[in-house]
Assembly symmetry: C2
Homo-oligomer: 353 residues x 2
Amino acid sequence: MGAKGKVAKGTQTARATINDVARLAGVSKKTVSRVINRSPLLNDETRERVEKVIRELGYVPNPQARALALRRNFLVGLIHDNPNAQMVLNVQQGILEALAGTEFEMVVRPVDRNSAAMLDDVRTFLERQRLFGVVLLPPISENDALARLCDEVGCRYVRMGSAQLDDGAHMVASNDREAVREATDFLIQQGHELIGLIEGPDGFRSARERRLGFEDALEAAGRTLPRSLIARGNYTFETGVTAAERLLDLSPRPTAIFASNDEMAAGVVFAARERGIAVPEELSVIGFDDTPIAAHIWPPLTTVRWPIVSMARSAARKLVGDMVGGQAAGEQPSELPSMLVKRASVAPPPSAS
Amino acid sequence: MGAKGKVAKGTQTARATINDVARLAGVSKKTVSRVINRSPLLNDETRERVEKVIRELGYVPNPQARALALRRNFLVGLIHDNPNAQMVLNVQQGILEALAGTEFEMVVRPVDRNSAAMLDDVRTFLERQRLFGVVLLPPISENDALARLCDEVGCRYVRMGSAQLDDGAHMVASNDREAVREATDFLIQQGHELIGLIEGPDGFRSARERRLGFEDALEAAGRTLPRSLIARGNYTFETGVTAAERLLDLSPRPTAIFASNDEMAAGVVFAARERGIAVPEELSVIGFDDTPIAAHIWPPLTTVRWPIVSMARSAARKLVGDMVGGQAAGEQPSELPSMLVKRASVAPPPSAS
DNA sequence: AGCATCATGGAAACCGGTGTCAGATTAAAG
DNA sequence: CTTTAATCTGACACCGGTTTCCATGATGCT
């Protein structure tokens, strides 16, 4: 039980105001305000006295009043148009971890990338709510006009993505290209000759980076990528199935497939099952993201663990960092590493056994 | 009139204030305020004149100022401690659908059910932010103390759940017991004699309802449920695997398993694969929720489609209904139906073929 | 017509903080 | 022992709405 209640709660919950604190501490509102806002030009002795009263009263400044006076809300927005539920939730988790214990809250705002009114909607949202800052999740984070809009309305922002698209203060990225190169190298080392690629949708930066990584690996091995071995999906399970069906009907059939995300990789496994192709004996599969589905299907997927939670946490810390914890928040990394998680979906090709 | 009007800001983006509207409409702030808040005692002609100016100016009241004056924020909170990412995201989607086009925003707040400070944390959250209302997601929605707390601090709330735990104004529920009875009936009709149950964690209302539905079906068929055919998981994939392993090692082995959610059902399929037991030829599986994983594993799962998005939308409408759209929001349903989705994971038992 | 009742709109206070700027204190310099 | 500068502190207006209180004109009733 919390024995913090020195404030007698009568019938009504009477929250202490800044005036109460000021009166009891024998100072003015303004001085209390200075204490709250960590103003440097303040006598230490005065500060302590006020802080003592604040503690005794259990006083917490009213966020609505502060928002009005400061013309800035203590809300961090998450703007996304991401089709992958798990990814969105991981990002939320990361942001909330960074915001825990602060006065900030998270408000979530999905947008429609294809809507002509998208930018106007976001502008209205930002101006109305006067958000402290926003985290932009890919793919919408790749939209430069959106970033400019944030600047314009005076809203801080941090973009998440698969490659550095902005300066360190506004970007938290992974290095997808490098990660995919390693994953593809792994397939090549296992002896695979015909490796199919299911790439992400056109216009997604991550799709491009991952394809480049794939090509990097082939090139390093002195191979070229035939057009027929490339299929495209839009990061959903269903398009993964369709793309895999095309690749699996090829003759000769690829013995391995790299899918640009786990959803599509799960689709590959599904399509293989439908055709009676054994995974990994006859077909090796690698995905990307390491979402739960990767570990929950049979066989569990070899995949690239995308540091999404850390990226989101880092992004949120960048936003509010200078407001809370001072140097504790410190300099947040702008690039976080991925790693290859090896599971049962990869084996040497049949011919190599 | 001593029009000590403010100096017009030239280049700066000056959002219209209530004073601008009042001046241009030739009325007082108060009158504009009455228009905004749909006060009934107002001349129709005056109202229209003011509304015209509002439209022309593109005026939108400042939410921060309203929040301060009204002592109530235009935020709807989502409080949850749900382990299932997909479910949380579906709920968010439903809430956002209900809030679209209104002045409300959604703030998400995960809590820790096991923390002793949970209630205090939530109280602080509600009092500080002065939320308009909250949606409570199971399992935390089953916590009566939490509902009482909301009442106490004057925060509206709507609970979501698997059974009616509260009056219609505060509850949106499905009827899990009935849905599971139907699902189990389906297994019985297919000819299964030994049906295993993987129930949800102790203390979850949904776990209890689903077990009761299971028992209802057996009882109606004149059977009893041996203790050995019941295993327990905590709604995660991993505990589903463990529970399934125990059931599959029984002799005689059950020919069908009902798992209380899809995650655990996916675990059952996984465990069966590990043991070389063919699904559905040697083992039928039914899950609950119809989350994406159900359709994305092989074989696709027969499952109960839980109307989670509609429930969340309905819950949010109940909260803000009287504020927006008047009767358009109308009376929201308090119970929404589930349905059995038949996929490939169920077949008659081997002996029956 | 005269008076009570009611609907309407305005001035000013208020919600609970923050910004500006001048005045008070104290320290350093002359 | 002044004078000057630097450091703290508080009075007051302000953020942009809502609400209270009251004056005003319109309406109803006898």
